[in-house]
């Protein structure tokens, strides 16, 4: 059965994934909106950068983050100057790394949803006295509801499932950075297979359920009302 240490990793995983998802939605929504609407020549480049974590080995991303966030990195110097200290091997560092790593899973469904709304409802809103910001909240967000749901689920689930970035940036510190995927690794290393089974099986069931919901419930009824 699960030990209290296992439960602690589960709780930590849930906290990291929830916080990361909130930040991804906060930053990813304007980014996806910009990518969906802009005619700027920078669009291709930004799209590429956002999509990079999809193809990069997590260790590569983790490695560069470690350097950037570390004492001598640009961001590390900045956070030290702010008095926060450096981020690697902290809970905050783990959240930052997760946000970057899972961002494409939030930005891409949002971008698709925004594109499918098209120009017409926005123009109609403008002729009905709604400012662009007002239109975003009263027309775009409600009409992109299923896109937001997909983005939230995928972003959360993908953060739960990460391993390489966590290990590089967060390390393996109980109650601070030790998440489920790392704990499974620890169990296997210690030849505690039955413990590993419980956690691994739990993650498998979680991921399966989440994807099943995505591909059945959400896809068959895109206009939930």
């Amino acid at each position: 059965m699960l030990t209290s240490a296992d439960f602690a990793t589960l709780l930590l995983t849930f906290k990291v994934a929830s916080l990361a998802t909130i930040f991804m939605l906060l930053f990813g929504t304007p980014l996806a909106w910009w990518l969906a609407r802009t005619r700027s020549k920078w669009r291709g480049l930004i799209n590429t950068i956002v999509a990079l974590p999809l193809v990069l080995p997590p260790t590569v991303l983790g490695f560069y983050l470690l350097i950037l966030l570390g004492k001598n990195g640009v961001i590390g110097e900045f956070t030290t100057w702010l008095g926060i200290g450096t981020l690697p091997f902290t809970f905050a560092g783990l959240v930052v790394a997760s946000v970057l790593y899972s961002m494409p899973f939030v930005v891409q469904p949002l971008q698709t949803a925004f594109l499918s709304i098209g120009n017409q409802p926005l123009e109609a809103a403008a002729t009905l006295r709604a400012s662009p910001i007002d239109t975003f909240f009263s027309v775009v967000i409600p009409q992109a509801k299923s896109g937001f749901l997909t983005a939230t689920i995928l972003g959360f689930a993908h953060t739960v499932g990460e391993f390489g970035v966590v290990l590089m940036v967060g390390g393996n510190i109980p109650d601070k950075t030790r998440v489920v995927s790392v704990q499974i690794y620890n169990h296997v290393e210690a030849l505690e297979y039955s413990q590993a089974h419980w956690l691994a099986g739990g993650l498998l069931a979680f991921s399966f359920t989440v994807l099943l919901i995505l591909y059945t419930v959400l896809k068959t009824t895109p206009h939930v009302k």
Partner: protein
């Protein structure tokens, strides 16, 4: 039609899209229904979008009822949501996530107005949409959607209503269902309308003032009757060429099933119309239904024979002559064969008689 001095739209736009250029300089009455007419690609929709601010012309000046909405020389461009206008799109463009009632209230909320007013209720009844309030847009027919879209624009009490081919996506039956609403709108609510269409029928039925656009330029702009009868425009050459007269009912001849209507400088007999004496009507006369005679025929089955003066005459396609006449104060077009024009020796200024074989009543 009388125009108030301050109710004018001044619109000057220059805009380039690849190989299309819109270049217009217009002064339009902001009262009654002004139709922007042209083929696809003539720039009529782009012009309407420029007026709404949905398109920003590189060079533009737009003034409505004395307030300037755009002046590119001094960098003024009022964004669409700050322009007090109404816009009806070709596709109704209702918000799919809102009910009909929420759609109608969307704009009202933003101008902090209530929907609990006699005017709001009047518009619901005028457009016959009261029973649809709780429906989602996807459960409406095309005609119903378009009526809701018109109401949604009207309830904001706009200074003018811009309509971009609002009937183009509807089948002929639905068109006939909405057309009467449109002419009533203008009369009952007194909101000026700018109406884009490529349909001759809608021009004849709705327009008070007509602007003809071709390849991004204004070909003609003027009162309907005058513009329709201008011989330098392709409109007068078309097989569907017509003149439209505004007339008033003066007498019912019940024994013959006829109604007599008067216009400036004469009167006509029409098949009986069930309406009170004094009712204004719009009568459309096709140029192909008008023939010319030199003397009053002593015996003819045609009732409407009127004295007329020939104002202009040009050669049309395939042996046709197009004649512009004046009957009383009304312009009239006639399509006759060139042979007849020669035999009758028709010349500008000649006094003749016209026989009108048929007319249609538009409202």
């Amino acid at each position: 039609m009388k125009y108030q001095l301050s109710k004018w739209i001044t619109a000057r736009f220059k805009l380039n899209y690849g190989d299309f250029e819109l270049s217009v300089n217009l002064r339009l009455p902001n009262s009654g229904i002004t139709v922007l007419f042209g083929h696809s690609g003539s720039g009529k929709t782009t012009l309407l979008r420029c007026i709404a601010g949905l398109e920003q012309a590189q060079h533009g000046y737009l003034e409505i009822n004395g307030s300037v909405w755009q002046d590119s020389d001094v960098g003024i461009f009022l964004p669409t949501h700050k322009r007090p206008l109404g816009y009806v799109f070709q596709e109704s463009n209702l918000f799919s996530h809102l009910t009909v009632s929420e759609n109608l209230n969307y704009g009202l909320k933003r101008i902090k107005a209530s929907s609990d007013t006699p005017k709001f209720n009047h518009i619901l009844d005028l457009l016959g949409i009261r029973h649809l309030l709780d429906r989602m847009p996807e459960r409406l027919s095309g005609g119903e959607k378009q009526r809701v879209a018109i109401a949604r624009a009207l309830v904001l009490n706009p200074c003018c209503l811009l309509m971009d081919e609002p009937l183009a996506s509807l089948d002929p039956k639905r068109k006939q269902e909405i057309l009467p609403f449109l002419s009533r709108l203008n009369q009952e609510l007194n909101i000026p309308v700018l109406y884009v269409t490529h349909s001759h029928q809608e021009v004849a039925q709705l327009a008070d003032y007509l602007v003809v656009l071709e390849a991004g330029k204004v070909q003609a702009s003027g009162l309907l009757a005058e513009t329709l009868s201008r011989l330098d425009l392709p409109l007068s050459q078309d097989r569907e060429a017509t003149t439209v007269w505004n007339v008033t009912i003066v007498e019912h001849e019940t024994e013959f099933h006829l109604t007599r209507v008067a216009f400036e400088g004469g009167s006509l007999s029409l098949p009986a119309i069930e309406a009170k004496i004094g009712t204004p009507l719009r009568v459309q006369i096709y140029a192909r239904d008008v023939s010319i005679v030199l003397e009053v025929p002593r015996a003819t089955s045609i009732l409407n024979v009127l004295p007329a003066t020939i104002m202009d005459i040009v050669d049309g396609e395939s042996g046709q002559s197009i004649v512009r006449l004046k009957v009383g104060n009304q312009p009239l077009l006639a399509h006759i064969t060139r042979k007849s024009a020669v035999i009758l020796n028709l010349k500008i200024g000649k006094e003749v008689f016209v026989q009108i074989k048929g007319m249609s009543i538009l409202n």
